[in-house]
């Protein structure tokens, strides 16, 4: 073939298949648009927040003295911009429903993208997240074949294909919806924070294949942000692009409680407000402040039942507490010259005496005794139920008290234990 006919070949292919060409062109254009514009603003809050954290970690060069890792409860702790009197910075990188296995990978991503290191990672821990069932392998959460998360692929295949439970007479079926139950709960945090390449280093064996199977389709942005496309194609209006407005009185708990301040209906508007809020609070969100009034009311009506209903389970839970994720995080932190502080955002009073909470306290104290780079700094005490919107998350007043106590009781201990190197020796005492 001559070079002239070769160069015309692609054009002739397109011309002979015009319908396919136009179709392909449409989806290429859609993909380009989603890569050029911040498509995560059209997603739900959870996806937006994870992508927001990811972009902050990957693109920002800000150096924070402290970073907060944790779940939806520690998400209520305010970050801290440096001021003249208090020249340290704290950024809250907590994410809702974050599994403990995540922390070490999260820290690794953070340090890989920055020349500077925080003085400490403040880990907001919830004991229930460290139960062994919460850390079951994602590809086999009920341990039908796999005993551990780091099981090799050959071992898994041997167990599944050869040494297998009697499926013939069992009601245990390899139902994909059962497999994915815990994965559905946690997956967005992994899939929207880490690239497939990063995930391939975080998981091994059968679990790696399972995770990558879900991660690879998300490299196609049109699929990753299909909720954005859905929003724009079904309910687009000029409101989506207008500057979102939040009345100034919405900084008061009274206004929040009286339902004047719930987020706008569209994802774009809600996430733009959230973006602004995150910049002001250095990463903090009190999730209950964003609930619709009727949902808040419904949760409150169930609060007592939820609190008392969990007590038996917390006392009788026969599952072991597994602190391996904290040990992994600590190991990486030590390599990077970072200290770790564990603090447990307060629970309701009724839960403070349960076996689970007490056992967790004992185990982390034990761990801290063995590790000089780990410190446990506690809040003064549990909170009354009235400060929670349901049984675990703080309402507006609860978040205020949480931050007050963090500032007065927890932060001074952190400053003493892991003082930033460039911080002057003399600073005003925290008010």
């Amino acid at each position: 073939m001559s070079s002239t006919s070769l160069s015309k070949l692609p054009l002739s292919v397109w011309r002979s298949h015009p319908a396919l060409s136009v179709t392909a062109g449409f989806f290429v254009l859609l993909e380009l648009l989603l890569r050029l514009f911040p498509a995560e603003y059209g997603s739900n809050q959870e996806i937006f927040l994870t992508n927001h954290r990811r972009k902050l970690i990957e693109n920002s060069r800000s150096c924070f003295d402290y970073v907060i890792f944790g779940d939806s409860r520690s998400l209520s702790i305010m970050g801290h911009p440096p001021t003249e009197d208090e020249p340290w910075s704290t950024y809250n990188l907590s994410l809702p429903a974050i599994p403990p296995r995540y922390f070490v990978h999260y820290l690794k991503k953070y340090v890989d993208h920055r020349p500077c290191r925080p003085s400490a990672v403040i880990l907001g821990a919830s004991p229930a997240m460290f139960l062994s069932q919460a850390m079951a392998p994602y590809h086999d959460p009920r341990h039908i074949y796999s005993d551990a998360t780091d099981e090799s692929l050959s071992t898994y295949l041997w167990k599944r294909l050869v040494r297998r439970p009697p499926l013939l007479f069992s009601r245990i079926e390899q139902n994909s919806s059962m497999q994915d139950m815990s994965w559905e709960y946690f997956s967005a945090r992994f899939l929207h924070m880490f690239s497939p390449r990063e995930l391939s280093h975080q998981f091994t064996g059968a679990e790696r294949i399972f995770v990558l199977r879900h991660a690879l389709p998300l490299t196609y942005q049109s699929y990753r942000y299909r909720e954005t496309i859905r929003q724009f194609s079904t309910s687009f209006s000029s409101d989506n692009l207008a500057e979102p407005h939040r009345p100034p009185e919405c900084n008061s708990c009274d206004s929040i409680e009286r339902s004047r301040c719930h987020p706008p209906m569209t994802n774009v508007q809600s996430n733009r407000l959230l973006d602004r809020h995150l910049a002001e609070t250095y990463g903090q969100i009190n999730l209950a402040d964003r609930l619709k009034p009727e949902v808040r009311l419904a949760y409150r009506s169930m609060r007592g039942r939820l609190i008392s209903g969990a007590i038996d389970g917390m006392n009788q839970s026969g599952e072991a507490i597994d602190l391996a994720p904290i040990e992994s995080l600590l190991h990486l932190a030590q390599e990077e010259g970072i200290r770790v502080v564990i603090t447990i955002p307060p629970f309701v009073e009724e839960w403070s005496q349960t076996r689970l909470v007490q056992e967790f306290d004992r185990r982390i104290d034990e761990l801290a005794e063995k590790n000089p780079d780990l410190r446990v700094i506690r809040f003064p005490g549990p909170f009354p139920a009235e400060l929670f919107v349901e049984h675990v998350h703080y309402d507006c007043q609860g978040a205020r008290r949480l931050n007050e106590e963090f500032r007065k009781s927890v932060m001074p201990g952190i400053l003493t234990f892991a003082r930033p190197k460039d911080l002057p020796l003399e600073t005003k005492r925290l008010q």
């Binding site: 015009p18 319908a19 396919l20 136009v22 179709t23 449409f26 989806f27 294909l161 297998r164 499926l167 013939l168 007479f169 069992s170 009601r171 079926e173 390899q174 139902n175 994909s176 919806s177 994915d180 199977r213 879900h214 690879l216 389709p217 049109s222 699929y223 299909r226 496309i229 859905r230 194609s233």
Partner: protein, 494 residues
């Protein structure tokens, strides 16, 4: 693995590439068939290798029996023993895995009713709780049809085991049909397949429309159906009052939603199977032909699950005498055939009820039809009557689907009672519900209407490129944005 999953995408990409590369070798048919068989067994074994051995066992048995039927061509007694063995073993396996618990629990209920306290199933461990092997209802029927056809001397026995095993276990149609006939499939397996552009176009079209039907229509209708029929037995048993608390208008539209859900779920999967097979040069017959445009119940069963209704006609209805033995026996044969069809679908009395209701409907239509002859003269009146028949047939079929979806007879009764509680509230929440269902079924009705008018399901391939591009973009866009991925096919449970 299921078609609407990433695993299948990787699997088929690999299979398709290797399959057509093998066509360039010196022995394409042999190598392609061997490779396809290995891929099909891997596909099935991916779910459970233990039940793969069951598939291999039945394939081996029927392969040997068919050859023996030809060997003893002049020995009718031996032939009868052989065919009886094939049918008995296949039905025994199907009966054990699918129906044992059904009959055992029915027996236990009967004993407890007749002689209270005489029989406690828990103490006697009468229930085995066997896991149902995926696709067993399909491949056992396929194999029985083969041996019966050989017995009838309609076809020759297949001498090559690998080819026969491929006919039984061909992965596109193995787990959820269509039930293919040996007379259609075996010649295609034994002859070379040539890569044709038209097969590629049609195959991709069937796959596209199949995915649209499954992930966009069926899986989005599912939550609407669950709102009225309830998502699970546990919720129904915990809240019996909830099951009967819906307005009749809502129950009607929930039934219509379920009819379209099951149509799009099953037909979507069948279309993907047909498309995947077409990409490899195999032509499998359509399993659904726009059932919402059926004019009456007979027409409906020529359009709905065509492969099963054809099987029941050829191997149950006609051997019973069909319509040749007078009206009474014709009606009896119809009732039996449809009751069996219901039983095939599931091991509960509600499925048998569903099938029997279809039988009654068809028999009723057969009785009344002679008095309904004569068409209006004007085209407008004819078309209006035609549309009215379609609507009535669809609504009737939807209502008959109630026992198919309900959890037990009491649930059926609660829903029927709601339907019969007049006046219906055609406003507020029930109207909003009807609208949400109508919006979801409208796309498939429109697509099927175009196919109906065009007389072919591949109508889009004959249209102007601009129209083709528009249709492709709309379907792909809908799948991308509105599709639900990873949900099982309802017919896997059968």
């Amino acid at each position: 693995m299921i078609f609407n999953s990433a695993v299948f995408l990787f699997f088929f990409a690999l299979v398709y590439s290797v399959y057509w590369l093998l066509s360039l070798t010196s022995r394409p048919v042999r190598l392609q068939n061997t490779f396809l068989l290995a891929a099909s067994w891997f596909f099935y074994g991916y779910w459970d290798w233990l039940f793969l051995s069951l598939l291999i066992f039945t394939s081996t048995m029927d392969y040997a029996i068919a050859i023996a039927l030809e060997r003893y061509d002049d020995r009718p007694n031996i032939r009868r023993v052989l065919i009886t063995t094939s049918i008995s073993v296949n039905l025994a396996l199907l009966g054990t895995f699918k129906y044992y618990n059904f009959f055992a629990s029915s027996f236990a209920v009967a004993m407890q009713t007749l002689l209270p306290g005489s029989f406690d199933p828990q103490q006697h461990s009468i229930l085995l709780n066997l896991v149902l092997p995926v696709g067993i209802s399909f491949y056992t029927f396929q194999e029985m049809a083969y041996t019966i056809d050989v017995f009838r001397r309609s076809i020759r026995a297949q001498r090559n085991f690998l080819d026969f095993a491929l006919f039984v276990g061909f992965f596109p149609q193995l787990v959820a049909g269509p039930i293919v006939r040996a007379v259609d499939m075996l010649p295609q397996i034994t002859k070379p397949r040539i890569f044709r552009k038209e097969d590629l176009r049609q195959g991709l079209w069937f796959i596209l429309i199949g995915f649209f039907m499954k992930v966009c229509i069926a899986d989005n209708l599912s939550p609407q159906v669950d709102k009225v029929f309830l998502p699970g037995r546990a919720i129904y048993e915990a809240n019996p009052g909830l099951a009967g608390g819906f307005d009749g208008f809502q129950v009607l539209w929930a039934s219509i939603a379920f009819m379209f859900q099951i149509y799009c779920d099953f037909a979507g999967y069948s279309n993907i199977a047909i498309g995947v097979a077409r990409l490899m040069g195999f032509h499998i017959r359509m399993n659904f032909n726009m059932p919402e445009f059926a004019q009456n119940p007979s027409d409906l069963w020529r359009r709905w699950h065509i492969s099963l209704s054809g099987w029941i006609r050829d191997y149950v209805y006609i051997p019973l005498g069909g319509s040749r033995a007078g009206r009474f026996y014709t009606y009896r044969n119809l009732l039996l055939a449809f009751a069996l069809s219901g039983l095939w679908h599931g091991a509960t009395w509600t499925f048998v009820l569903w099938g029997t209701m279809h039988g009654i409907w068809i028999v009723g239509h057969a009785i009344v039809q002679p008095y309904l002859k004569g068409e209006p003269r004007s085209p407008f009146a004819r078309n209006s009557l035609s549309i009215a028949r379609m609507v009535l047939t669809t609504v009737a079929m939807s209502l008959i689907f109630i026992p198919f979806r309900a959890f037990d007879a009491h649930h059926v009764w609660l829903l029927v009672r709601s339907l019969l509680s007049f006046p219906w509230e055609i406003a507020g929440e029930p109207l909003g519900y009807a609208q949400s269902v109508a919006v979801r079924i409208l796309p498939i009705v429109v697509l099927d209407a175009i196919a109906y008018r065009s007389g072919t399901q591949t109508w889009v391939l004959e249209r102007h490129p601009a129209i083709r591009a528009t249709v492709y973009i709309v379907l792909l866009f809908s799948i991308l944005v509105f599709g639900e991925f990873g949900k099982d096919v309802i017919y896997f449970a059968f």
